[in-house]
Symmetry: C2
Subunit: 394 residues, 2 copies
């Protein structure tokens, strides 16, 4: 009688969540310091001290009816202006406030964009490995997710497979770089080739194909890696951004959609974004958080802590003989399972109190995701276990 | 090519918003104090001082990874426990944390509830006059809005009309009391009769018919008026609540859904709510705001200020000869237009610099909505204009 799809979705336990809850049981049984839990992608470094200062100052010094009042549905004009300026400083991408739409975080950015673009039966390409909620969001927006696997050797796009997947129903492709779960950054060559292929296909098919750039991890890159800004390579691009990871504010739900001015009929696409936000029940993004992020442009958390975690764990795993995807960004390692069945490997890892997630849920079998957004000690103390684990396969 | 419905929704200018923007032009032309703008339902009293204190204390004293971290999708357990306790203290309604789902405000509460309950083609009854976004939310969830007009003499439910509107496709009825736009509270007799009729119809049709109680104005009632708590009268009830109006936090987007334990298969309905929240992209309600409202249970803004506004305006309008719906709650007066065409009346009101909204948009022609959540001086200074206005019709 009620909506069966929503019911089954509400009842479906996520594998990640189950592993995390297994961890909770083990923590209470043997002590938190004995459990090496790499299951969740929850920022472990605190929000920058400046976030606290700005919040306190906003609350102390702003008229409450202004601070807590409705903003326009697209977001406060001053906030959107500050963000547009930052985008243009960094990427010279022609951002304007009237092409920016403030959202309740990355998930909302995605659902609003998908609902704005899709008609019933449209196809959306997702590149595996991918964040599993993509398929939920696409289906709820009336679309069909079409999975294209990345090349296993470097997790860049497999262009032959991608070309074969594009047809007249293809409305969009979601590009998530730095990637959850594999930590890989799509390089400039890949993004240029992607733009070339999509332009050809748009011409050939006479359709619009949008890139939805899901970029919550943009700021989390290590060393001198550059994450190409897709609107500067491909016209029909919507950028979905969130401050959850860059400012360690995942619970606060604040981000934006940027419709590139180069999008075909960008004014209409932006209007459809506004319409979708309205129809889904997003009246405006939380006002206090809007004013906060406007004052945090250019600020990030202490990313060096993640880099240190990555370096120690990556170097050790490679030394022990694991095969690991090139981990340039986000806070994940994607590691080839030493046996074909990654689920079985994850089970075995529990014997070392190591909690990791099979790649199956991310559309990529035979791999495991290790979230290294954890305390440094967790990394260090887990190393012997990882070593013993792979030795079992010799 | 993109979604035409979302495009047209994004492009559709709201009448209320247009009147408000006309007001902005007039304010800059003749001065803000000369324009009597009753168009928006934006709380005019500030959030209570205690909100500021609690926010400052939370930010000063909470570990940032906890304060800004993900909560569970349903909301933090401690927050839901505090709210359940408050509901039970006031209404003895059997609330438990596992039947409460924290949302980004009333609109989100409604879209999540509708998407959880509706299947394609289901009908949802709305009682006119009604908040115009209801039809947007219902249609986006795949449903069809069926409008039943309230009785003009007292704006209580017209049960004959309601009975005629119920059929095997009726999945839910949205009940909004105190009501936007008419300020009327549905009395106990009405709610009892509603429960009786729906129970009969459920039996007769062999279906479930849900009441979605949209209650952002519950706390805004004046004098000793009692707003019946619908779960205590009718089993299949979901309460959609928001703190926007009671705490003057409309921009912050924080509220909840309470699935009554008496709902048929309440565990499934709650699971479907969780599924719908997930599919629409609501990861969790903003964490800082969750912790805030948990500590604000029982607190409201200075409602006396609204009561004063209401009393002055209501008494004056009645004295001048206007016909006004009994204004027991919210911050709206619903006034019969002295001419048949309420749009024409609203246009004439502009000659007195009075900005009010025709009832047409709320599904009820021949009336106008006056939002009295404004400064007391605006009320006082507008009175002569209202008097001259009705005198034109003598």
């Amino acid at each position: 009688m009620i909506n069966e799809k929503m019911l089954s979705l509400g009842n479906k336990r996520s594998v990640i969540r189950e592993i995390f809850e297994y961890g909770n049981r083990r923590r209470s049984e043997i002590g938190a310091d004995k459990v090496y839990d790499f299951s969740l992608g929850n920022p472990s470094i605190p929000a920058p001290e400046k976030v606290k200062e700005i919040l306190l100052s906003l609350i102390e010094n702003t008229e409450p009816t202004k601070l807590h009042g409705y903003t326009s549905a697209q977001g406060d004009l001053g906030v959107r202006t500050a963000i547009a300026e930052n985008i243009n400083e960094r990427f010279d991408a022609g951002a304007t406030p009237n092409l920016l739409y403030m959202t309740c975080g990355a998930a909302a950015s995605l659902t609003i964009s998908l609902n704005a673009l899709l008609n019933e039966g449209d196809e959306v390409i997702v590149l595996a490995p991918f964040f599993p909620e993509y398929t939920v969001f696409i289906e709820k927006a009336g679309g069909k997710a079409v999975v294209v696997k990345c090349r296993e050797e470097d997790f860049q796009i497999d262009f032959e497979a991608l070309e074969n997947a594009i047809n007249s129903k293809t409305k969009a492709i979601i590009v998530n770089s730095p990637n959850n779960p594999c930590g890989v950054v799509l390089n400039e060559e890949t993004i240029s080739k992607l733009a070339e292929l999509l332009n050809e296909k748009q011409k050939e098919l006479g359709t619009d194909i949008f890139v939805i750039a899901d970029e919550p991890y943009r700021e989390l890159v290590y060393g001198d890696v550059v994450v190409p800004y897709i609107p500067n390579y491909y016209d029909n691009t919507l950028v979905c951004y969130s401050y959850s990871k860059s400012l360690s504010l995942p619970g606060e739900r604040i981000g934006y959609i940027f419709v590139s001015p180069k999008v075909q009929n960008c004014v209409d696409v932006y209007a459809a974004v506004c319409g979708a936000g309205r129809a889904l029940g997003f009246v405006c993004a939380p006002s206090l958080l809007q004013y906060l992020v406007a004052k945090c442009q250019g600020l990030t958390g202490d990313i060096e802590a993640y880099k240190q975690n990555r370096d120690i764990l990556y170097n050790a795993l490679v030394e022990y003989g694991y095969t690991v995807a090139k981990p340039d960004g986000a806070f994940y390692l994607f590691v080839k399972s030493p046996e074909e069945d990654a689920n079985a490997f994850c089970e075995k890892a529990k014997s070392e109190e190591i909690l990791i997630v099979p790649g199956d849920d991310f559309g990529f079998k035979g791999y495991v995701r290790i979230s290294y957004c954890v305390a440094l000690d967790t990394i260090k103390n887990s190393l012997d276990g990882f070593k013993r684990l792979i030795e079992q396969y010799r």
